[in-house]
Amino acid sequence: MKRILKYFFSHLVILSWVVTAHAQKGTVAPSAVRIGTDLGFLGVSLFDPDRRMYEFNADIDFYKMFITADFGLSGWEFTQEGFAYDNSGSYFKVGIDYNLIARDTDLNVIYFGVKYANASFEEKFSYSITDPFFSDYSEEIFKPGMSAHWYEANFGMKIRVWKELFLGWAGRIKFAKKSKGEPSSFNTFYIPGYGKAEYDSRWGFNFNVYYRIPFREKPPYKPKKVKKEVERDPEDERQPSNNQQMNIGF
């Protein structure tokens, strides 16, 4: 857990620096934090007795961008005839989303972004064999202290449905996965937050509900044209433009 928090905060500091540097150009400070959870994972936890999946999400706005953070808990345990599997762990993701509709007055968001993700987990696999050629045997393999990290590219939207309540979906591709752990004869089966470990990339889809907690009025987005007019030298206003000169001439 300490390692997770260390990674989480170090990446959050880097992301804050990047986004703040960008935000200073537009002088737009954060106006609200949005917190949420993944409804799909809640559904899995409710209807699949083998699995426990919970994911909590948060974002905070900086100009046209959002810093996002997700934290998830996962457990998967099943027993079949001749074998049993148990996996438990947690993960976090931090990233930046770019809002494509920053001028929307309802504060809806259509975004694309990138995330860094890191998972810590352990897994156990036990099996027993009735061997027709050799002796029967059973084995239990425990893999503690496993970790993995990967990146995600995501696209989605968060739509205001009532007051400060938002619903959102996101499609994502997870890639550049690397995992670490003690050598073992059991191939890592599942990585919390990622999916089946044997794949180098995975598609994912999330359906979330969010609640936005504003702490100041969000100033309207200032288009570039308006900004230019404000910054124009007053001396220029006295000089007629070429068009005006032509009008006078006729």
Binding site: Y85, D131, S185, N187
Partner: protein, 136 residues
């Protein structure tokens, strides 16, 4: 999400196998050559894999509990030849419904009493034609 999970059941098909394919060849011509044995078994096995058989290709199961297997070949003249192989065993859980299988990699010949034996494919797969060639 459920739809994606359901797709995993198609992955039940696996080409992994615990069978090592031993092929006998004529050392002069390099062609397949029938070799007769009264019995083939393994040291750790309580059963006989082949008895009184004449073939050029034998399919022999490896011991999944260990990372080595020692095969014994009883010749018609009652002399015994041995073939000891080692390998790296990995367990691959395919899915809850499909179960698991074993992957055997880095197959090698540790010791043999045959005059000439060569390891061809170092991974056990149903797609292999042979894993070990023995010339006599």
């Amino acid at each position: 999400m459920y739809a994606l999970a359901a797709c995993d059941t198609t992955d039940c098909i696996t080409f992994n196998t615990r069978v090592v394919i031993v092929e006998f060849l004529d050392s002069a011509t390099g062609n397949n050559k029938v070799r007769e044995f009264d019995l083939i078994t393994a040291i750790e096995s309580p059963i006989v894999f082949y008895g009184d058989t004449s073939l050029s290709t034998y399919y022999l199961p490896v011991n999944t509990e260990k990372e080595y297997t020692s095969f014994l070949f009883l010749n018609p003249d009652q002399t015994i030849d041995t073939l000891e192989i080692d390998y790296e065993k990995r367990i691959r859980l395919i899915s809850k419904d499909c179960g698991y299988d074993f992957e055997f990699k880095n197959l090698g010949i540790v010791h043999t009493s045959f005059d000439s034996a060569v390891s061809m494919e170092n991974e056990l797969s149903r797609l292999n034609e042979e894993n070990i060639k023995i010339f006599f």
